[in-house]
Symmetry: C2
Subunit: 500 residues, 2 copies
Amino acid sequence: MRDGQFATPPDHDTDLDQLAAAGVGPDEHDHVVVLSNVMDREPQSLQHVLLADAVAVGRLQDDRCSISSDSAGSSSTIARLLVARLLANWFAQEGYAIITDRMPKLTHGCQRCLALARNRRRIPRHRCAALWADRAWESSGLSVLQAMGMSRLIFPSLRYPIVQAPMAGGPSTPALAAAVSGARGLGFLAAGYKTVDQVERELAEVRSVVPAGVPYGINVFAPPGHGLGAAEVSSYADRLRNEAQERGVALGHPRWDDDGYGEKLDLICEQPVPVVSLTFGCPTPSEVNRLQSSGSAVWVTVTTVGEAQAAQRAGVDALVVQGVEAGGHRGGFDDADPGDVGLLALLQLVQAAVNDDLPLVATGGLVTGRGIAAVLACGAAAAQLGTAFMLCPEAGTASAHRDMISRDDAPTALTRAFTGRTARGIVNRFLRDHAEAPSAYPEIHHLTAPLRTAARVRGDRDGFHLWAGQAHALAQPLPAADLVVRLGTEAREALRTATL
Amino acid sequence: MRDGQFATPPDHDTDLDQLAAAGVGPDEHDHVVVLSNVMDREPQSLQHVLLADAVAVGRLQDDRCSISSDSAGSSSTIARLLVARLLANWFAQEGYAIITDRMPKLTHGCQRCLALARNRRRIPRHRCAALWADRAWESSGLSVLQAMGMSRLIFPSLRYPIVQAPMAGGPSTPALAAAVSGARGLGFLAAGYKTVDQVERELAEVRSVVPAGVPYGINVFAPPGHGLGAAEVSSYADRLRNEAQERGVALGHPRWDDDGYGEKLDLICEQPVPVVSLTFGCPTPSEVNRLQSSGSAVWVTVTTVGEAQAAQRAGVDALVVQGVEAGGHRGGFDDADPGDVGLLALLQLVQAAVNDDLPLVATGGLVTGRGIAAVLACGAAAAQLGTAFMLCPEAGTASAHRDMISRDDAPTALTRAFTGRTARGIVNRFLRDHAEAPSAYPEIHHLTAPLRTAARVRGDRDGFHLWAGQAHALAQPLPAADLVVRLGTEAREALRTATL
């Protein structure tokens, strides 16, 4: 960079009052910075813009919005500032942004420049993005991030770094996912246990509600390994037979299947979803690449340091780091080693074991704004909450299950009794009676399914799986969008008041 | 309050340069505020001073030190500012301070005024204190806090909200406690397993090193309950006999005792220690009161919401909230229910169940600055770290134990194999072989002690308890004072960069 190339003063400054008059209020954000009208230049010039950060940062300290324009025709600046709002939260923390006014062919160049800037100032990847800010994005049906080929950087586009955990088997619904994403958290569908047709219908339902460009996600079960053999499963079936007969229910057929893994991936590649998370295993590098090429960010759930390293090697975009506090299934790769590490300990260990710029989504026992603040302070890019959303009216949680989640005298435990795979649920009669159930998923899931369905239908809380995280008693029965805003506000306040 | 009573401008302002010239550098603190020379008035006036906070806060925003003096003779102001340094970290976060220039008889009035101010602005108790700032404190051997009868408010006087966990059985030494307190964290002695004479010698050693007024702590085991009976203990002894014979070691006598609880409390009441924490049970309200009356803050370790509520009812000054990630013994009241909740989940649950102003010290799996930042963001007043200090040269950790803590391929598990009480250690042969050891503490502790001592002496990592928290692999072999500063600095950075 030649000295002085970007030392010319900006054409004009716009203060926050002017932005507010244009409908770009500083309501939630302290700082907005835009470097615009730079696309007349070659990619090398973009790099130069990035190197001009010192000027921009200096202006940030005055709580002002500085607009540096190196060409005429900046009248559409205000329109572009709408896009800048997406960035403001994290840009204020030494992130970088390129906001341009043309659909560039220069995506690769932008990304390369960002990488250079990141390395120079050691900024995590989830704090950097290049955005395209022409008005066309609003009508294109593509998000700004998608338009820039940066769709896999989900975090900058969330207003609240709150992910609604996918909860297969009922609680997750299209309405819940849409409400959370609509509030600008990240809602999730759960493809597990569903047919491909059901998944397609649910995706269509979410797409019909969520505004274009607003991200949402879907969770897919990776094919499970093979657990213990037919003898153990058969022996467990014998222990269940009396109970089934008393209830007038036939046990299910204990078969192994892969939950339609291949077909579900095909569907998602044909109809891309902004985020695809995987549970129970790590996709192959080629599966990861295929999903990414079709526009999805790929996240993988991990419960141990070894799994985190394996997922990184597979090329995923983020890790969902699941602490032992989490409700429902342990999401790791191997039920023989389901992971027993608490969330904060695991976050610290994983951070030390993977690249600094691999975003971590923390999950397990997070139900309050303070809990969210804690994992953000620990370096997570977002917090994923499951049980916290189970009392929302949009959730499909069974009534007897809701009652138990609300109780503060209902301890949880890990068990294989219901599905043959380790999961955390509120302790009830079935869980206590079958503490020694073998590791054999999904065989035992299929075996017990009719028993559990019957119990749920008759409202018998002692007869089916009451998945819940350890802090379930703090869940609030609020509409999901209200809950996202409340949790986000509480988390912001917790971070504001924490000092040292 | 009559209008205008405190609207008179301050007599003078002193900026930070002047303070620096007086040896009161702004090195670590942003803001210093002193309200002095107010003790000529009645207690009602003190309340008025507190109500003048708006003026003080306004001046804080200029990064200036404003001194409001309503009488002549303020020449000793600079000396009193030395005391103000204790306050600065937390006062800058909307805390309140009264600093006076006479040893007041008005302690009760001060405390009442603080309570009013706290209620009005909803400030946690650990952010408020009244201090006495006469020069006499420097030579009195009492801390400022003790002189004001406010000795139980420990947290404002720590430079780093980092507590070194008491680690009975070797790792905790007077040198370790003194180094941590000297660095202005909070060092702890462990009275457990020691005679009263040993405890007295260790206390004397710490007092000889730690400057007057700098707090430190001691941990005492509450009397354990009675576990399973003699038959179970005898059966376990039979299983250990071969191993003992092979090693040429006689098993110990499996007796119950209370570890000298009463005598240790007597000692501490005669020779007060700033902080007394209790493990394995809750002291009675009269024991709590006796310790507090002699000048100690009383903390109790809890692992469940029920224990937290019981400790609050007993009148303790703070709770040590221990997550399941923690190394060593589960510190709760009852080994039949040792608590399996992860730290973040437990913190959120306890916060919802106890009074807002009861300070919580978070412990379990915290080894990094980010981990500390996380619990502070979650509302804890301080973080307590054990394993993080076990590799310090000042720690008495056995060599084979140090080796295992450093390894990143050494998982931990909960076990009763070594002591008959649930504890977390690195998995080794002894732990695996005796997974079914009964709950009988301290009988089994005494039974296995000779076996464990012999194994430690011969460096056999498979034969003794390798207590360690789940994130042990991240412990750093640094001098304790350096470690405190490093962790505190990292935690501060983590909080600074976390946003939402």
